[in-house]
């Protein structure tokens, strides 16, 4: 804590004290673990590409599953969502809900057409 005193001398409350610093040191350990997991996740994602899943849907599912886990790690630990306030959750939940609505309903609406409708790439019939 060499520059601790210099901050103090400028007349301000120093942000860290020793027990606080210990906490943070604990965090750093976590950060490194997460870092490692993210790299592993990335490698897994790429390997998945070379595995021949029988169906496209399966590929998509696996890809998004890995991505979601990685995203969760980033959000939960790097962005400290784990210990964040309720308010932030509600905002994010709203956004997540509306995003799902936007995507889901748009897709649904684009494919639930009147019976016998045709998506054309050439003229019909």
């Amino acid at each position: 804590m060499s520059d601790h005193s210099s901050i103090d001398s400028s007349g301000h409350e120093a942000p860290g004290n020793d027990s606080h610093a210990q906490d943070i040191a604990g965090h750093i350990n976590t950060y490194m673990w997460i870092f490692g997991s993210l790299l592993v996740g990335t490698v897994l994602t790429v390997l998945m590409y070379y595995v021949d899943f029988s169906s496209m849907a399966m590929t998509v599912a696996v890809a998004l599953f890995i991505a979601s886990i990685k995203a969760f790690l980033v959000a939960a630990y790097f962005m400290h969502l784990m210990s964040e306030k309720k308010l932030v959750y509600s905002v994010l939940l709203l956004a997540a809900f509306f995003f799902t609505g936007l995507m889901g309903l748009t897709l649904w609406g684009s494919f639930d057409l009147p019976t016998n409708s045709i998506h054309k790439t050439s003229y019909v019939p």
Binding site: T115, N116, K120, S122
Partner: protein
């Protein structure tokens, strides 16, 4: 036709499903009228009774009755009834119930382009000619392949009135060559967008002989307001005569009037 709708100037209905739509419009407007008149009576009464001159001291609590909750539940109920009883079934019937073959539906294509409507029938052989984008242009909106034998007797009616027989279901496959147009025939109570890249069927059964105008109800460019089409609903024999003549004359496959 419902006298209320006549009063506001809606054109006489001329198709089989029109009654359902008209009824729904009437019922919804009755609901609206009841709500509106009720509230207005209340509104003027309140403004008069509780004006400052008559009631210099306001009451902190105000209304104590729960009438409003009942009214709100009532509105919700009526809406639910209209929705489940009328709107949804009507829609399902219109878009998910294609006419059965024994009703001998007329199948046709309708193509919209800036700024005209064209119609296309399969001809006497009942087979569509081959169609491809690469043949399409303003004069051949359906992209008919002149080389295809099945198309020789197809009937294409480009930018002029076509005929439909009375009391037979029509299934018109609607599409567009360029931008979004909207096929609207007020008397038939049909409206459907013609979306490029999609082919969407509209179904209706004309019930009245006469001349009908198609308007384009979707902004589609400079001359949108003049984009009119027309068709005549005629008796079955008149229609057959017209159709046979057209088909034999080889309307399809490139030679257009």
């Amino acid at each position: 036709m419902n006298p209320l709708l006549k009063l506001v100037g809606m054109p006489e209905p001329a198709s089989a499903h029109a009654k359902g739509i008209d009824d729904l419009i009437v019922y919804v407007h009755l609901l609206m009228a009841v709500l509106f008149l009720g509230w207005m009576l209340y509104f003027f009464y309140v403004m008069f009774r509780f004006r400052k001159g008559a009631n210099p001291k306001a009451d902190y609590i105000g209304a104590r009755s729960h009438f409003s909750s009942y009214a709100e539940i009532g509105v919700a109920l009526v809406e639910a009834v209209l929705l489940i009883g009328l709107a949804i079934p009507l829609w399902a019937k219109a878009v998910d119930n294609p006419p059965k073959p024994e009703d001998k539906p007329i199948e046709m294509q309708i193509m919209a382009q800036q700024f005209a409507w064209s119609a296309h029938f399969a001809g006497l052989d009942g087979k569509w000619g081959r169609q491809d984008i690469k043949f399409a242009n303003s004069a051949n909106p359906f992209g008919l392949d002149t080389a295809d034998a099945a198309g020789k007797d197809d009937v294409s009616v480009v930018s002029e009135p076509f005929l439909l027989p009375v009391n037979r279901p029509v299934v018109a496959l609607l599409s567009s060559m360029d931008v979004i147009h909207c096929f609207k025939v007020p008397s038939m109570r049909v409206t459907q967008d013609a979306v490029p890249g999609l082919s969407i069927p509209v179904t209706f059964t004309p019930t009245k002989i006469g001349d009908y105008t198609i308007t384009c109800a979707q902004l589609c460019g400079s001359l949108h307001s003049t984009m009119r089409g027309a068709f005549k609903v005629v008796s079955e024999p008149d229609y057959t005569a017209w159709f046979e003549k057209k088909s034999k004359a080889g309307g399809g496959g490139g030679s257009f009037e």
